[in-house]
């Protein structure tokens, strides 16, 4: 084996940093393990279980943390920030800022007495509940909420109702729901973007659903979609909006498109042209007919 020279710096002492440091140290390198937190361990030390086997996280990580702390070749630089790295392969010069701990870590046993006796306590501050945000059709939305009051978590059902009313999810309604249901706005956003029935964007005057189920696909559904897109582009965004759906369950009529809930079965590329151009032209003339 060739003789190992020099040293390696590992930045970040999470599970992968610790493992890298151990592997390097075991193969003979001097390792500087740098982390900005007061202790090594990273995110994994905060987790209960690991995916996909549901093993206990600390049972995996703790022995490695101890190994890294004890290893002759590893020098821990915790509560430290990497300021700069200069140089080239084989000869780097790193500058590290050690933040003051005000505690001698060689003598500290981690007994916790100092925290108990510290005279400055952090007070929990509960903010006052803000006033309800402005929302359109407040009574209607309140009605949706009370309709599903029997469900422990009615968010999805309420969103379906909202979507049924406006055909999309307006931002002010979502903010109002977050206030009324007392859940974080981000949770509502997550649900609204996970499920396919919800759209955050306002739909056009004519909402075209193109079925891309298997039966429609083998009968040329994707070509129909290309055509729908081409025609919609001509009229611009607010005339037509397009949605692709995975099977509407009317496979016998494939390929199908649905324009504002009206089903057009066995459509041809030419047929798309006709249907959409008629609607587009009637809108351009300001006509009311659909």
């Amino acid at each position: 084996m060739s003789e190992k020279v020099g040293a390696v710096m590992v930045v970040g002492a999470g599970i992968s940093g610790i493992q890298s440091a151990l592997d390097l140290a075991d193969s003979g390198f001097k390792v500087y393990l740098v982390d900005s937190k007061p202790s090594i361990g990273g995110l994994m030390s905060q987790l209960d279980k690991t995916f996909p086997t549901n093993d206990c996280s600390m049972c995996i990580e703790a022995p490695k943390m101890v190994d890294a702390g004890r290893h002759q070749n590893i020098e821990l630089l915790t509560y430290s920030e990497l300021v700069s790295v200069e140089g080239e392969d084989g000869n780097f010069h790193a500058k590290i800022l050690k933040k003051p701990r005000s505690v001698d870590i060689d003598k500290c046993t981690g007994c916790g007495l100092c925290t108990e006796n510290c005279p400055i306590m952090l007070k929990i501050q509960i903010p006052e509940k803000p006033p309800a945000p402005e929302v359109r059709d407040r009574e209607l939305i309140d009605g949706f909420i009370s309709e599903h009051a029997d469900l422990p978590n009615p968010l999805i059902q309420i969103l379906l109702d909202v979507s049924g009313k406006y055909s999309y999810l307006p931002r002010d309604v979502l903010e109002y729901l977050a206030f009324r249901l007392e859940i974080p706005f981000s949770n509502i956003y997550r649900i609204a973007t996970f499920y396919k029935s919800f759209s955050l964007e306002k739909r056009g005057d004519y909402h075209v659903k193109v079925c891309l189920g298997t039966a429609c696909h083998v009968r040329g559904g994707s070509r129909v979609l290309d055509k729908v897109r081409t025609v919609a582009d001509i009229y611009g965004g607010d005339t037509f909006s397009i949605e692709t759906v995975n099977c509407l369950g009317a496979c016998a009529l494939g390929p199908i498109i649905v324009v504002n809930e009206e089903v057009h079965g066995h459509v041809t590329i030419d047929g798309v042209d006709k249907v959409m151009n008629e609607l587009g032209a009637s809108k351009a003339e300001g006509g009311e007919e659909e």
């Binding site: 995916f51 996909p52 549901n54 469900l151 422990p152 978590n153 009615p154 968010l155 999805i156 059902q157 969103l159 379906l160 997550r190 649900i191 996970f194 499920y195 396919k196 029935s197 919800f198 891309l212 189920g213 298997t214 039966a215 696909h217 083998v218 009968r219 040329g220 994707s222 070509r223 290309d226 055509k227 081409t230 759906v245 995975n246 099977c247 509407l248 369950g249 009317a250 496979c251 016998a252 009529l253 494939g254 199908i256 089903v263 079965g265 041809t268 590329i269 030419d270 042209d273």
Partner: protein, 620 residues
């Protein structure tokens, strides 16, 4: 009316049956989703108007039923008591149908169904080959009853199985269902009786029962048709299941994309509650059970049971590690039993006619009959119910009438995005959970998508991987990223940039995705790729080596040419071309400018003289 005892229900049933006049004309109109899309409501209005104008409202009744299954020929009209069948009926023919057939008892020859196989006209619905060769159990009543009338269901001995079940102990019911050999119809095929047994044994004050009606497989719509056409059979099955397991609350999780199914089920639940089949002390048995609808918000993965539970709990539909199985810890941490729509609708039949009767249908391994949705490039598109073990050939050729337009059969895709493509040499395989798995596919929820020579198998594989990628919840890296990489490779192949080595890579990736994904979606996602690679490798090789798409589908590998000898110069193609790529004088042969053409295929569709031809690599 509310039935407080089984005797009250029995006397009501008897009264209904006695009041039936077998000679009273009934016009049956299919109101399933397929027929609604074929404008059956215009037809219904026309019939109502006609009867009103002739003053026949009391003498002739109209019944709007759920899906009959023969969606290709919608809208369907069947005139009882003779059961004269008029497919693709038009409102303009309504006065004649009323005057000649309903009143005059005469058959209108030119409106009859013509069997494309023999060219003969068929008068009665039951003689149509599509229906004649099926064996309908679950679907038998769909064409007979109005789904919005509980009396229609009760007339056909509806809810009599429930009465019978209340005379049995819950162990006896579970034993009966286990003995019948019924397997879950959602796709995985787990024995239903065994599943019930787990939920029965699980400890917990509150137990839940869920009906999985989140039918997401593209190309499959039998659950929708059962719910739309015969919702009471599902409700009855669920009450029996709840009694056997000891559950007091049921939830029907229905896709919001199925508004008619939600409406019909909602009406049926209200009727069942008013009649005392749901609520407290059902039929005086002392057993309480209620049912409510929960609408899905459009996520394919919610068909998986743990994801479905997550969705009901108001979370994103991401699957969870099993165990614990829902039978131990499901909805809100309580023991939960989930079965699919079709499974539930089997239960009343098993209880009524017995496990032995049910076990006689089907194969040694799999019992009963199964509804398939036969779609794609097939003459008779529609829903087909046959005993398990019927061969693919029987379903496709005898019932489905083969491939239209004289094209050649290429493959049949079973099991939706989790299934595979089965080629012609395996057409004699019986449709059975075991045999389809042996071919690399699965039974799935029952979609049979037929593909002919114009379907490109690489494109199909690409379609399914695109579908799974779109529907993947993103929890497992292998499914989220693995499918994305597979789609990239397939896209390269379909645009002529693939390499032969990439086929091995596809197979290797498929294995990783299968092995390391948590739920059924990821575990089965590569099946369409693996089966097409196994049976249609030559098509992949043609794309890669010759830059040719044998089925002439892949846009980047084809081009359109106009045959100068056939072209009459009608200018239809030039006028329709969206990018003005076609030039030529009137009455002279036209030419396609390949640099401008976007290969949209419009010219090919509009040409009436077959002069526009599709070329691919290797053609001149």
């Amino acid at each position: 009316m509310k039935f407080n005892t089984p005797a009250e229900l029995e006397s009501h049933t008897k009264k209904l049956v006695d009041s039936l006049d077998p000679n009273k004309p009934v016009i049956i109109l299919c109101g399933g989703t397929g027929c609604v899309a074929s404008k059956c409501h215009d037809l219904i209005d026309a019939f109502k108007e006609e009867l009103a104008s002739q003053g026949l409202e009391d003498k002739v009744s109209i019944r709007i039923t759920g899906c009959h299954g023969f969606c290709e020929k919608g809208p369907l009209v069947v005139i009882h008591p003779e059961k004269v069948f008029y497919p693709m009926a038009k409102p303009k023919d309504v006065p004649r149908m009323v005057t000649e057939t309903v009143l005059g008892k005469k058959v209108i020859d030119e409106l009859l169904y013509i069997d494309p196989g023999t060219g003969e006209k068929v008068i009665h619905e039951y003689d149509v080959p599509f229906y004649k060769k099926q064996d309908r159990v679950i679907f038998a009543d769909n064409g007979e009853i109005d789904p919005r009338s509980i009396d229609d269901y009760i007339t056909l001995e509806g809810y009599s199985s429930l009465v019978k079940a209340f005379d049995m102990s819950s162990e006896e019911i579970i034993e009966e269902v286990t003995k019948s050999g019924l397997k879950g119809r959602g796709g995985a095929g787990f024995p239903t009786g065994v599943k019930w047994g787990f939920a029965r044994k699980a400890e917990g004050e509150q137990k839940y029962l869920i009906c999985n009606a989140d039918e997401g497989d593209p190309g499959a719509y039998m659950d929708r048709s059962v719910l739309e056409g015969n919702p009471h059979s599902v409700i009855e099955g669920m009450i029996i299941g709840a009694y056997a397991i000891g559950a007091s609350q049921g939830i029907a999780y229905v896709r919001s994309e199925y508004p008619l199914a939600v409406d019909n089920l909602d009406i049926a639940i209200k009727q069942a509650r008013e009649s005392g089949f749901l609520g407290e002390n059902i039929l005086g048995s002392g057993f309480d059970f209620d049912l409510k609808i929960y609408k899905g918000a459009g996520a394919f993965v919610c068909g998986e049971e743990t994801a479905l539970i997550a969705s009901i709990e108001g979370r994103p539909g991401e699957p969870q590690q099993r165990p614990p199985f829902p039978a131990e810890s499901g909805l809100w941490g309580c023991p939960t039993n989930i079965n699919n729509v079709e499974t539930w609708s089997n239960i009343p039949h098993i209880i009524k006619k017995g496990a032995d009767w049910y076990a006689d249908i089907g194969t040694n391994d799999s019992k009963g009959s199964k509804i398939f949705s036969l779609v794609g490039k097939i003459t008779n598109v529609g829903l087909v119910e046959v005993p398990i073990g019927t061969t693919l050939r029987t379903v496709i050729y005898d019932i489905g009438g083969g491939i239209p337009d004289g094209k050649k059969f290429k493959a049949v895709q079973t099991g939706g995005p989790s299934g595979g493509c089965i080629p012609e040499e395996h057409l004699d395989t019986p449709i059975d959970y075991k045999d389809l798995t042996a071919l690399g596919s699965i039974m799935g929820s029952g979609g049979l998508i037929v593909m002919d020579e114009d379907t490109c198998m690489v494109d199909v594989a690409k379609y399914f991987i695109g579908f799974t990628l779109d529907e993947s919840c993103g929890k497992c890296t292998s499914c989220r990223e693995g499918n994305a990489r597979m789609l990239e490779i397939l896209e390269d192949i379909t645009c002529g940039k693939g390499t032969i080595e990439s086929l091995d890579l596809l197979e290797e990736l498929s294995q990783y995705v299968k092995d390391s994904s948590l739920c059924g979606l990821g575990k089965t996602a590569p099946n369409p790729v693996l089966t097409t690679l196994m049976y249609f490798r030559h098509e992949y090789e043609a794309h890669i080596r010759d830059h040719a798409c044998p089925a002439k589908v892949c846009k980047d590998l084809i081009w359109f040419e106009i045959d100068a000898e056939k072209c009459t110069g009608c200018t239809a193609c030039a006028r329709k071309c969206p990018v003005d790529a076609i030039t030529g004088e009137k009455k002279e042969a036209h030419v396609v400018n390949q640099d401008v053409c976007t290969r949209c295929g419009t010219c090919y569709q509009v040409c009436k003289f077959d002069s526009v031809q599709v070329k691919t690599g290797g053609d001149n």
